[in-house]
């Protein structure tokens, strides 16, 4: 047997000009093949369905042609736009038919345990040690993330690069559905990206904002893939924002007007969707500005105890907060308590009673960045006080942190964050599995809410 393999290798090395295997890999391959064949195995098969999907779509992952009751490791890897390598892995044991079904079977260890059909995506971490963890962000929204899923013999936890995978499958994960149009917006000082579904419309539309991280397009792209014209808006921390313009209320008024004037947008079907500081701004807008009449509002982990019109810009506020910020045991910034202290002063708190439309509040109870639960409770109370409590729907997730992203996004308890003058590691909060479940559930609730009201 070994002799035959050696013959084939020599023949191939002599005659084949195409192909990319190196001689060393051939030797490794021979040994592994001989091992496998001596154990009377076929090449195992691993396959994911669908192979090309949107980021918020689940996938099934199955393995077949293993020996029965065989321990294996599944490893997912993602190379982010040619730079960082992200990975996750999990341990399974094949059943008596030699199969593993990630949607049904339990992981016995690795990046996650238990039955987690999408665990290989949401437990992805930067593979390179020693660096600060960063959020997974895609610069080019129009190309997919490519995820490889490899199968290894046995339960292994590291040194994957020195082992030969038994089988590999590849998936593409997209933010944009085919036909969605992506338009850069730099108009009247407004900086953002407009995503429009294919077709004549008119479409219901959303303004989408995040916290202090510049222009985040991925959620808007997904929402357009679900049928909403969506303007992802930058209002802080973006090189093209005219100095000082991103801070004022007039900027948001301008953005609103702009979105309304898009021909493919149904002008009386606009909504607001925001995370973090952006959500607080939207709550302010909806409550205080008569010209802004959203059909509905979604606020994810909003620190609405912080803002007040005319109180100066947000960067200044943040800088005032910094000396009061505590560090946790790992030296990660815990901004939440500082914000809480800030907001206790009643004069400064945001009055949400002016909101006329249905509001969906998504709360991560373990949010370590903003006092999300307290803010949500205050907002509910304010609306109840003016007889509008029935407009508020709240979904509160214990053990979910600040960064509630669309489903299956890698879950980060803390990551690097650029503050003016320094890069710190910010503690966001959230416990792996629960936070992932919160992302999945909240997205479903958000889409249902938008479908109902827009």
């Amino acid at each position: 047997m070994a002799g035959r393999m050696a013959y084939n290798a020599a023949y191939w090395l002599k005659t084949v000009k195409t192909g990319t295997l190196l001689a060393q890999n051939m030797a490794l391959h021979e040994r592994t093949m001989a091992d496998m064949l001596s154990q009377r195995r076929h090449t195992p098969r691993v396959w994911a369905r669908p192979t090309r999907a949107l980021m918020d779509e689940p996938f099934q992952l199955e393995v077949a042609c293993l020996p029965p009751h065989c321990p294996v490791t599944l490893r997912s890897t993602l190379c982010n736009e040619g730079n960082d390598l992200w990975e996750a892995f999990s341990h399974y044991v094949s059943d008596e038919r030699g199969r593993v079904n990630v949607s049904k079977d339990e992981s016995l260890g690795g990046s996650y345990v238990g039955c987690e059909p999408m665990g290989l995506l949401w437990s992805l971490r930067l593979a390179v040690g020693g660096r600060q963890p960063v959020r997974l962000r895609k610069k080019n929204i129009q190309t997919p993330f490519v995820v490889d899923i490899s199968l290894f013999d046995g339960h292994i936890t590291d040194n994957f690069n020195t082992q030969t995978a038994l089988a590999v499958t590849t998936m593409e994960r997209w933010y944009m559905a085919p036909g969605v149009r992506c338009i850069e917006v730099r108009e009247n000082g407004v900086v953002g990206t407009l995503f429009i579904p294919p077709g004549p419309g008119p479409f219901p539309a959303l303004l989408d904002v995040w916290g202090l991280g510049g222009l985040m397009e991925h959620r808007a792209a997904l929402l357009a893939s679900r049928g909403y014209a969506c303007l992802a808006l930058a209002y802080i921390n973006h090189p093209e924002l005219q100095l000082g313009s991103g801070m004022g209320i007039s900027y948001f008024q301008e953005s609103w007007n702009l979105l309304q004037s898009v021909p493919q947008v149904s002008a009386d079907r606009l909504g607001l969707l925001g995370s973090c500081f952006g959500a607080a701004i939207f709550i302010l807008m909806a409550s205080e500005l008569p010209d802004i009449s959203p059909r509905c509002l979604v606020a994810i982990n909003s620190p609405s105890g912080l803002l007040n019109p005319g109180e100066g810009n947000y960067l200044e506020k943040l800088q005032r907060l910094l000396p009061e910020t505590k560090l946790d045991a790992n030296g990660h910034f815990m901004i939440k308590d500082a914000i809480l202290a800030f907001g206790i002063d009643l004069e400064r708190s945001l009055q949400a009673g002016g909101i006329q439309c249905p509001v969906l509040l998504i709360v991560g109870e373990d949010d370590q960045c903003v006092p999300s639960l307290e803010s949500a409770q205050k907002l509910e109370a304010q609306m109840r006080a003016v007889g509008k409590g029935h407009l508020v729907t709240k979904f509160s997730y214990p053990e979910a942190g600040h960064l509630i992203e669309p489903p299956y996004h890698p879950v980060m308890r803390s990551s690097a964050f650029n503050l003016p003058g320094q890069t710190v590691t910010m503690l966001w909060g959230g416990v792996g599995k629960s936070h992932a479940a919160a992302q999945e559930d909240s997205w479903r609730r958000i889409l249902e809410f938008l479908d109902k009201h827009l």
């Binding site: 000009k17 051939m26 090449t43 098969r45 490519v146 149904s266 079907r269």
Partner: protein, 446 residues
């Protein structure tokens, strides 16, 4: 000029407050053999609508299909479940908008939809139109639109050009170290290098070699130079490739490719395939010398060539007389591997059904008919392609043998032919998996 300044507001006040109809199609980026699920919502209840699918081919022709539907009480049309009342197809046909694609009126005649570059998808625009439209969409604006991609190749599959040891073709390898079962993929008398089926098979886990054996450009692959040894060399290449499992190599043929496969399998030497998939072919084509000799014999045989009322060539009776002559037929009784034989009984190009019956008899007499599975589909023509390729009843054909340009009648009716493509492909994949993946006979030989 700003983007927004240029666009005019064209919608009336009344339309502003109505929710637009919404159309979704799943999967958004699927393989060509995956079923599609199209759903339209936010329509007026019991509203007449037309669904239209539009595609621009790589040859710059527009293809389209359309179906007439009526929404239910909730204003929903669900193509997988609802009945199409007319258009390119009728009845409950979940995938009708794809397999009934035809060139738009005014196109060049006798076209066939084929993909050349497997690394780009077909883009289908699926639109909803008000009312029942009778095929003329020039002035019809759509209520809603969605776009889906249809791919012949999965992510991770790699493409390797092969031109060595005088074999010419393209090898598609699934991702991973393998080794994988291998398939030699053979097309027919049109010649050239056709890659899309091999790419699709690789997406299902098979190292697949699309082999070119009749080329007008590449003079080294001239039919007068190539005999059965060429194909045997291709199989040997596959078997000895480091990412291919040498005991699990099969042959997949259509039309002339089927005859090649049968010739190789019946030879019973060390180049023995693990299994054969033979579509729309015949054993009444023996390869003794070069391929050129074979085609010359075909012409000189004297079998009947007919034309239909449109002067389209019907070649199915050309080799029919050979079925009576054992010396002209491949000895299928010598075949030692499982064989899946697929034919359409409206095949106007080859006598595939008569050949299939004759093969059955020969194998019964020889005692190896347990290896044979035959699938014969009614109202199905010659070009049994992967689903949901549009059915082509006739098309332009340039023989790679003599560069004759004719229009050939392939046969088949759209609905039944499309069913045959869908059904046979499912059975083919099952057959290949059973014999090339899960069977353990290969191991015991070690």
């Amino acid at each position: 000029m700003s983007f927004f300044g240029e666009c005019k507001r064209i919608y009336s006040e009344e339309m502003k407050t109505r929710i637009s109809p919404k159309i979704t199609a799943q999967p958004t980026r699927g393989l060509v053999d995956e079923k599609i699920y199209i759903r339209v919502s936010n329509l007026i209840p019991n509203e007449k609508i037309t669904l239209r699918c539009l595609l621009l081919s790589e040859d710059n022709d527009f293809w389209h299909a359309y179906g007439l539907y009526i929404s239910d009480d909730k204003g929903v049309v669900n193509v997988a479940e609802d009945v199409c009342l007319g258009g390119s197809y009728t009845g409950t046909e979940p995938n009708g908008l794809i397999w009934s694609l035809k060139p738009v009126p005014g196109s060049r005649p006798a076209l066939r939809l084929r993909k050349h570059n497997v690394f780009t998808p077909f883009l289908l625009n699926i639109s909803v139109h008000k009312g029942h439209i009778n095929g003329d969409f020039k002035d019809a604006s759509s209520l809603a639109l969605t776009v889906i991609e249809r791919w012949y190749i999965s992510p991770g599959v790699s493409r390797v050009e092969i031109s060595e040891n005088y074999i010419h073709g393209t090898l598609f390898l699934p991702p991973g170290p393998g080794p994988f079962p291998g398939i030699l993929d053979l097309w027919g008398g049109g010649g050239g290098l056709v890659e899309y089926r091999a790419a699709l098979l690789a997406s299902h886990g098979y190292a697949s070699l699309a082999l070119e054996y009749m080329s007008t450009q590449n003079t080294s692959i001239n039919v007068n130079n190539i005999g059965i040894e060429y194909f045997e060399a291709a199989i040997h290449f596959l078997k000895s490739h480091p990412r291919v499992s040498s005991e699990q190599v099969g042959i997949f043929g259509l039309s002339f490719g089927t005859s090649v496969a049968l010739n190789i399998a019946a030879k019973g030497n060390r180049i023995s395939p693990r299994c054969l998939v033979c579509i729309s072919g015949s054993h009444a084509v023996k390869i003794n010398g070069t391929i050129g000799d074979v085609f010359t014999n075909l012409k000189e045989e004297g079998g009947k060539i007919m034309v239909d009322e449109n002067n389209h060539f019907i070649w199915k009776e050309l080799i029919l007389p050979r079925l009576a002559d054992p010396s002209k037929k491949v000895k299928v009784g010598n075949i030692k591997c499982p064989l899946l034989l697929i034919a359409g009984n409206d095949d106007q190009n080859w006598p595939t059904v008569d050949s299939a019956r004759d093969m059955e008899n020969m194998m019964k007499a020889a005692g190896n008919e347990h290896l044979l599975t035959t699938l014969i589909y009614p109202k199905t023509g010659h070009l049994i392609e992967p689903p949901y390729s549009p059915h082509t009843r006739f098309s332009n054909f340039i023989s790679a043998f003599n560069q004759e340009k004719v229009v050939v009648l392939w046969g088949g009716q759209p609905k039944e032919h499309s069913f045959a493509q869908e059904d046979s492909w499912e059975k083919i994949l099952h057959f290949l998996y059973h014999h090339l993946y899960s069977s353990s006979i290969g191991l015991s030989k070690l």
